[in-house]
């Protein structure tokens, strides 16, 4: 609980500072030591929650959430490619999922499995460094991931504040700004071990200008790298 509170406080300070930045990065010992090397990655559909915070309360914004969800895989893909990774594109594109209900189920199931462990990782991300977390080796049954060394899960949670609330905050002295917190988790596609975890914050109108999320994502993956693909890779 204390750790959660500390993280929440850091987040609030970050938002208040107006900066977009990456937070700590946590790597599995085998990834850090080079025992595990990731060449190819498969990015799973991002899951984002965008909420409108206004004088009439909070309200989920489904369309805006969708915009963020659609933008994140591309931004993460760019960041990973710049680190030498081969990103398996289009395998889980919306069109592909639409055509194949079994694939859609498989994605929903693996996202659900990830949620269970994600709650623990969020709570104690440092333990990624001790290799504590795993989704279990049945992630290998996720057939779209067979050609990849790692699966990338993305979660984002954003707040868009209405003009009224911003004005109200100015008057009463509170803080009301737009921001999105994104976390990225890299999972070994065969063993299910969590290899890397990081999160980043982007401040400003991240829905109108989704590109602004790119920089903090890039920074948040600073300590992650794919070695140069060997052979035909």
């Amino acid at each position: 609980m204390t750790a959660r509170f500390a993280r929440a406080a850091i987040l609030l300070l970050a938002i208040a500072s107006g900066a977009s930045f990456a937070k700590a990065q946590f790597a599995h010992p085998d990834l850090k030591s080079g025992k595990i090397v990731v060449h190819k990655v498969l990015i799973l559909p991002a899951q984002a929650t965008v909420t409108k915070s206004g004088m009439k309360g909070s309200e989920g914004l489904i369309e805006e959430s969708r915009i963020v969800e659609n933008a994140l895989p591309g931004l993460i893909s760019q960041a990973l490619q710049s680190k030498g990774c081969t990103v398996l594109d289009n395998v889980l594109a919306p069109a592909a999922l639409e055509k194949d209900p079994d694939l859609k189920y498989a994605v929903a199931d693996i996202q659900g499995r990830f949620e269970t462990i994600h709650a623990h990782v969020e709570q104690k991300p440092k333990d990624v460094r001790t290799g504590r977390y795993t989704l279990g080796d049945d992630v290998a049954n996720f057939s779209p991931g067979a050609a990849a060394d790692a699966l990338v899960f993305t979660r984002a949670s954003g707040v868009l504040t209405t003009g009224g609330k911003k004005a109200f905050a100015v008057v009463v002295g509170g803080n009301a700004s737009d921001f999105v917190v994104m976390d990225i988790t890299v999972v070994d596609s065969q063993t299910g071990n969590i290899l890397f975890y990081t999160d980043a914050i982007s401040r400003g109108n991240f829905v109108g200008d989704t590109g602004r999320m790119g920089k903090p994502i890039d920074k948040s993956l600073k300590q992650f790298s794919c070695s140069a693909p060997s052979g035909k890779n």
């Binding site: 929650t49 309360g57 914004l61 489904i62 080796d137 290998a140 009463v172």
Partner: protein, 455 residues
Amino acid sequence: MRLRLVALGFSLLLVCCGSASAQQPPSATPSPPPFTFTNVDLELLQKSNELDQQMADRGLVYEDAQLTEYVSAVGNDVLPQGPDLENVKWRFHVLRDPIPNAFALANGSIYVNTGLLALLENEAQLASVLAHEETHVLNRHAYLENRSYRKKALAANIFSGVAAAGGAEGGAGGAAAVLVGAIAPAILESTIYGYSRELEKEADLHAVGAINDANYSTEEMIITFKLLDSPHEVALSQGFYQDHPKLKDRIAYVSEAVDGLHARTPHPMVEEERYFAATEKAARDNVTMDIYAGRQRTAVAVAQRLVKKDPNSSANFRALGDAFRTLGPRTPDPTPEELSSRGKKDIRKSLVKLTPQEYDDELMALPAGKAAWEANQKQSEDAYRKALEIDPAEAPAHRGLGFLYEREHQFAQCVDEFQKYLELSPAAPDQAQIHRRLDAARKQIAANAPSPATP
């Protein structure tokens, strides 16, 4: 994230299932109260439509045309005759979710979870759930609750603003006030999950009339509540059904309503066999969903019922084997210690602190956990063997046995079963996983082999 998804304003929309109206006598053809749409209502309607899309896009909808058709037919049976409602299009969906629940959206979309279908025993019970949800739509409960919520939210927002102002004056309190302001809406939302008890009661009582008019047995609605009241899991949080009027109260007032009704025929419909035939596959799939959701006890209960109803299905026995195998160090039913408030507190604490695997390991370290595991392994093995007796080509039973023997460190048998699985399922999607485990088992066999005697 699932919680966040719900919090994504859907709490306004997920007008969860549950109840009906005391003042209004049950009637199958109620004239819906006049309703004038405001902008706020139209926003909610739009969000309901978007939510439908979101559910489908995220693979949450169970796409089985026959089952959907069946649920729709039952739902349509209990719909009152009358003119179409403005901005309502009746659509029935099954959700891939092991939690026993159902809910209605303002636009007329009604969702029933696979977890509820697996729990119910017959068509009359399903009809009562659907009639209940339909009442929420017919009587515009979602819109009414949404309007009420917005008023509450506005009040809370002003409160948090005042708190922030106080914090600014007091110095360091500002950040804490912002935190409270950020949390308050969520707390507020949590108070409106589900409808008010009055609206739930309204839906319950209307459902009694609707199912009676459709010639379903109204007694089955009471049995539905009893089924909901006998959970197999230790309830660690206040679930939706606990949020409703106490189930005992619901049973009491629905029983009273049932007593006051005259059945349309001497033998109202129950339709157990038809229901089972339509839902058997979904219930079996739900066993796997239960297992992944950490609801292994429910998985065992559902699989036991499947086996009882259809003892000639190898797939049902295989599901039972899977359920017992993954039950691990737990007893099939919660122990009195687990159900005590102290026990619940301890479990809650452990589940927050430990990953599922770590929690299982902790239980296994206890003598009771080990004893439960041994008993469950035996039950699992028996179920898998029965599946193979019915159908020797039931490949997943070999796979299950492989995992079972691997855990028991019986590596030779483990290798044998995994090999049979791969022979029977050459295109299995989990080949890589099984091959890896086969290699590991073979290494163990080699390591355990007695070294040749030295001359």
